[in-house]
Structures are given as structure tokens and as C-alpha cells.
Subunit: 331 residues, 2 copies
């Protein structure tokens, strides 16, 4: 294994040290493993908090800042953050108006956020939870009961953060997050596996020229393996799969995320985006906003995911609201 | 070879099609292979134009927009753009105040920009050229007489674009670009090779656990191969190598770019940044601005590059000036 790390045991704390050095606008608590906005909690505003296993950067730590997350809790690589860590984030970010947890649907994450929510409630903090479960590839997966939470997390974190910034209640912020999740579907394809530092070898074996269709962000198996095909064929199938689960029709507007899994060149992601745009145009669906790049990665996995969110005026307005984070900026 | 492409022959035009679909704020001329800002040239302002082989995205096409490039010319993968293409960009972007070409020091690029500059001059367009040659790894390389141009290109494009936006002359814009280049040094390490689509296999063989120290952005050989080491040892050597060539001392300020080559997880780049920051702090050098991420990539090469620019008040002010491009935003 070749990695730019000191040791598998220290990769998280070393990366957080670097994150803190690079971003003085963040407050990184190395002890508690919580990333907050510098300047303390925002009095009277809901704190939107997320977290999950590390290795998916910039998710979640790269989305902490005005207009998006109040705090993020990075677990060890591909491992849920622990309840104490999440509780520490809730206490540190709480501005008196409650907390909304954004949780990707993996069993460990769901359980740990639930425990943390109960502990926070005991301390008088109102907690609401938005569960993200947008991945249509499979029902139940290696680490998940139900559908996995993937690319839609970016949309949910963006719109909940924007609404919290406007002073909405925890119930309202959670509600818009649930609506963004319900409006979103994702599907991913892997061309190669990621290597977790502590494991030291790729998480799965993929024969030469074979791809994993419907892969999870930890390398969980998808629907099947098949030979690589030209982008327009592969992307057409991915678009059709997403839309088969998701009632977008002629005249609908969409926010589209073409996301790299970590090791896919940007030039390929633009090829994919071109094919997605053509396929949606054929169906009369108008892409009104998009992101193309690495947002929800899987270490050095090669491949991409597509997320389609059905847009409405409120979601769009919140998507467009100002945001200032390491990974997403908009004036 | 597994890639998200339709065919090696169409990867550039397919990616440009996707770029155009994703970014309506750009005007992409698929025929001429020129990426411009939408809305036409800016009358009375210098047009800053760059270009080079594709495969280094977001460089250069992702840096077109207000405050940075006026136009970019993507060549085929790892292949210089041709003179006609560069001339088309100069003609399309010229606002009557001249053109500044930003050219990475590779023999093909230098020659083609030179020819284009002569052709443009014959058509009455004043052309100045800034040559970027910041890579300290080797003198003369596979495709280069002198030093290679790498990460400093981002700095040069940012500050020249900012000065052009203020209405400076072509001579002034070129001058600040030359100063930014002279203030910058870079060095790169590869953990794995990139695969060019038309080649179909990795550009070089790197044995398990070996790294290429001083690699070029097309996989050109560096100074030597050696076993992978812990990040703090490896980064210390890279920092020392850059500073040995570059007279930064206690009290100096620096702009630092820790750049991923395409397949390196962001979590590792933050580990590297933490080590860079610690090493520069030991020397009393203050990092006043930084970028951590994928900016000058080499397709799916694994590894990183470090660029250190000695900052002064003028460079800093131009670095901080507003910019709005696909890959770099600042209000």
C-alpha cells in the first residue's frame, strides 16, 4: 500500500491537523474530533450537524461554514463517529434553537446519531434527524437496512444549512431536509476499488475491464458486475435506473450532481456530465443547477455517482443561497 | 483500460460538450476547441489566455472566468494546443488592449504559443508571453528545455487575471505574471502512473511500494525512485528541496498549494498540508494563503505536488481579488 500518511492509526488526526492549518475559518477540536465554524455557535439559529466515516472528503468536514453545516464529526475511515463525539458537536454548536442531524443511512451511523440525540435531549437540546437514503442501487446492503445514503447528502446539507441561516425552526429545517432527500435519487458505478489505510489492500477485487454497477461508497456490492462500456451506454443506463425510481417527466427541473469517487479524472466526469445532460434533455427534463467534481468520495475508488434532485422553487432558492465552506462557495 | 469515455478519439470533444452543458457562464467553441467567457471580449481590457494538453483539469479550462483567464485552449490529452487554436482564442478574446499568453514550459507549448503570437501580431494584436517554469525537480526533462511549468501556473493565472480585470496594460499584466513565476517553486511526487486514453496503459511502471520523486505532470522521470516513506519524512524532504532553491527565510510570507495529481484522496492531501505547515513554521515562514485539492492534475496519477510562492503585498492583493470560475471562486 502506498499512501501519503504517517500511519493508518494517525491518518484522521493528521488530516484534521492539516485541515485546521489550512482553514482558520474552522475550529477543529482534535481531542473531540469535531469540526466547527470558528467563532462559536450562532445564537438563536438551528445548528445543522452531520458526520460519518472519513474517506469521503470533502463530505462532511469540507461543508462546514456559513450557509451549510454548523459542525461535522469525522469517524475513523469508513467508520461511524461515536455518540460522545456527536454529543460534543451538538453541545458546541447549539445556539439555543435546536439541532438537526443529517445522517446517511448506514446502520452504525443511524444508531450512534440516535444515541447522541437522546443524550442531547436529556441535556435540553431539541434534536431532529434527517435520514438520507437516496441510493436506488439496492435495498439493504452490507452496512445498511434500507437504502444507502450517498450523493443527496450534499443537497440535504446545502438546503438545511441555508434554511437554518434564515432563522427557521428545527422542525422546518428538518422538514426541508426530508423533502430534499425525498426529491433525490442516486446511483454509482465503480471502475476500481478503494484501499482503506488500516486494511492495506483494495476493498474488493474487480477483474480487468469489469465494473461494479450500483456500488456503495464503501465498496459495498451493487447490482452486478459487467464489462466496461462506452460512456454514453453506461450513463444512459444509470440515468434510466435513477429515473425509473423517480418520477421526473417532461417539463420538470433538476439539480444534478456528477460526483467523482476519488480517483476519476475530472475530464471523465465532464464526459459523463455531457451524457447525463443529453439523456435528460431527450426526456424533456431541464437541468437548472449542477455540480461536477469530487464531493462524496470513497478514498481512491475510481468511478462516479449520479444524483438527480427534482427541483422546486423553494429547494432552488435554498440551493442558490450564499455558502462559504472549504468545498463549496457561492456569493 | 477502464475509463469513463466513449473512445480515446472523442474524449476531448465529449468533455468539452459536458463542460459547456455544465457551465453556461462559459462559451465553448467545440470546432475551434477554445473555452471563453460567455458574453464576448471585454473592451479595453487585456485578455489573459492559457492552454496546454488536456488531462490536467481543472487547469486550464476550469480557470476561465472573471478575475482569471479570458480563454483557455485545451489540446489533446498531454498534447499541446495548436497555433490555429491559440490564434482563434486570441482573436475571440481580444478586447483591444492586447493579449497575455500564460505558457507552461514544455517545448511543444512554447513553440505553438510563439507561432500563434506571431500570427496574432500580424493581425495587429499585441501579445506578451509569461513562461511558467517553477518545477525544481530537474533541469531539462522529457518534453522540456529548462525547468517544467507546473503548479505555479495557478498562481500566475490568478494574479495576471486579477490585474487584467483592473485595466492594467499588457506589459504590466505580463510583468506581474513573471514576478509570480519567479516567486514560485514546485516539486512533485508520484505514487502511481496515469493512463492516457490513447495509450491504454499506465505511462510508467512503478514497482509496489516505490515512488517517483520529482515526477513531471506527464509522468516524466524525476530525480530518483525510492520506497514510500511516512508522510512527515517525505514532505520534509519535498519542503527542503523547494526551499533550497528558493530563498524564503524567517518572517517571509508564503502562498502554498498542496495539489493532488488526480487519484489521491483529499484526506491524504490534508495530511500532507499539515506536514508542510509544520515544516514551514519551524523555519519561521508564515503561510498566509493556501489551496489544498486537485488543481493541476495528471489524469489518474496518484501523488501530490507542493508549490510555494513567496508572497508580497501586491501578489497577495491580486490573489485575494474576486474570481469566479468553475474551479476557483472568491467573492
Amino acid at each position: 500500500m502506498k499512501k501519503l500518511i504517517n500511519s493508518p492509526d494517525t491518518v484522521l488526526v493528521d488530516a484534521l491537523t492539516g485541515l485546521a492549518a489550512a482553514h482558520p475559518e474552522l475550529a477543529v477540536d482534535l481531542e473531540a474530533r469535531v469540526v466547527l465554524r470558528a467563532g462559536g455557535p450562532q445564537p438563536g439559529k438551528v445548528a445543522v450537524i452531520s458526520g460519518g466515516g472519513s474517506g469521503h472528503e470533502p463530505l462532511h468536514v469540507g461543508f462546514v461554514g456559513p450557509g451549510m453545516l454548523s459542525a461535522a464529526c469525522p469517524g475513523e475511515v469508513f467508520t461511524s463517529p461515536v455518540p460522545d463525539q456527536l454529543l460534543a458537536a451538538a453541545r458546541a454548536a447549539h445556539g439555543g434553537a435546536g439541532v438537526v442531524f443529517v445522517v446517511k443511512n448506514y446502520t452504525g451511523d443511524v444508531l450512534n446519531f440516535e444515541i447522541a440525540g437522546e443524550l442531547a435531549a436529556e441535556q435540553g437540546i431539541e434534536v431532529r434527524t434527517v435520514l438520507v437514503n437516496d441510493d436506488v442501487a439496492v435495498e439493504d446492503s452490507t452496512y445498511t437496512a434500507g437504502r444507502r445514503g450517498t450523493g443527496a447528502t450534499v443537497v440535504v446539507e446545502k438546503v438545511t444549512g441555508a434554511l437554518a441561516e434564515r432563522g427557521a425552526s428545527a422542525a422546518e429545517v428538518a422538514s426541508i431536509g426530508e423533502r430534499a432527500n425525498a426529491a433525490s435519487r442516486s446511483f454509482a458505478v465503480a471502475l476500481g476499488a478503494a484501499t482503506v489505510p488500516a486494511a492495506g489492500k483494495p476493498g474488493f477485487d474487480l477483474p480487468a475491464d469489469m465494473i461494479e454497477v450500483g456500488v456503495g461508497i464503501h465498496g459495498e456490492p451493487g447490482r452486478r458486475r459487467e464489462p466496461i462500456r462506452p460512456a454514453h451506454e453506461l450513463v444512459a443506463e444509470v440515468v434510466d435506473t435513477v429515473l425509473a425510481d423517480h418520477p421526473l417527466t417532461t417539463g420538470d427541473q433538476a439539480i444534478v450532481l456528477v460526483n467523482g469517487m476519488g480517483a476519476t479524472p475530472l475530464i471523465e466526469l465532464y464526459v459523463v456530465y455531457g451524457e447525463v445532460a443529453a439523456r435528460l434533455a431527450e426526456r424533456g427534463i431541464r437541468i437548472v443547477r449542477n455540480l461536477v467534481g469530487n464531493f462524496v468520495t470513497s478514498l481512491d475508488m475510481a468511478g462516479f455517482s449520479l444524483t438527480v434532485t427534482k427541483a422546486d422553487p423553494e429547494l432552488l432558492e435554498l440551493w442558490d443561497a450564499p455558502v462559504s465552506t472549504p468545498a463549496l462557495h457561492r456569493p
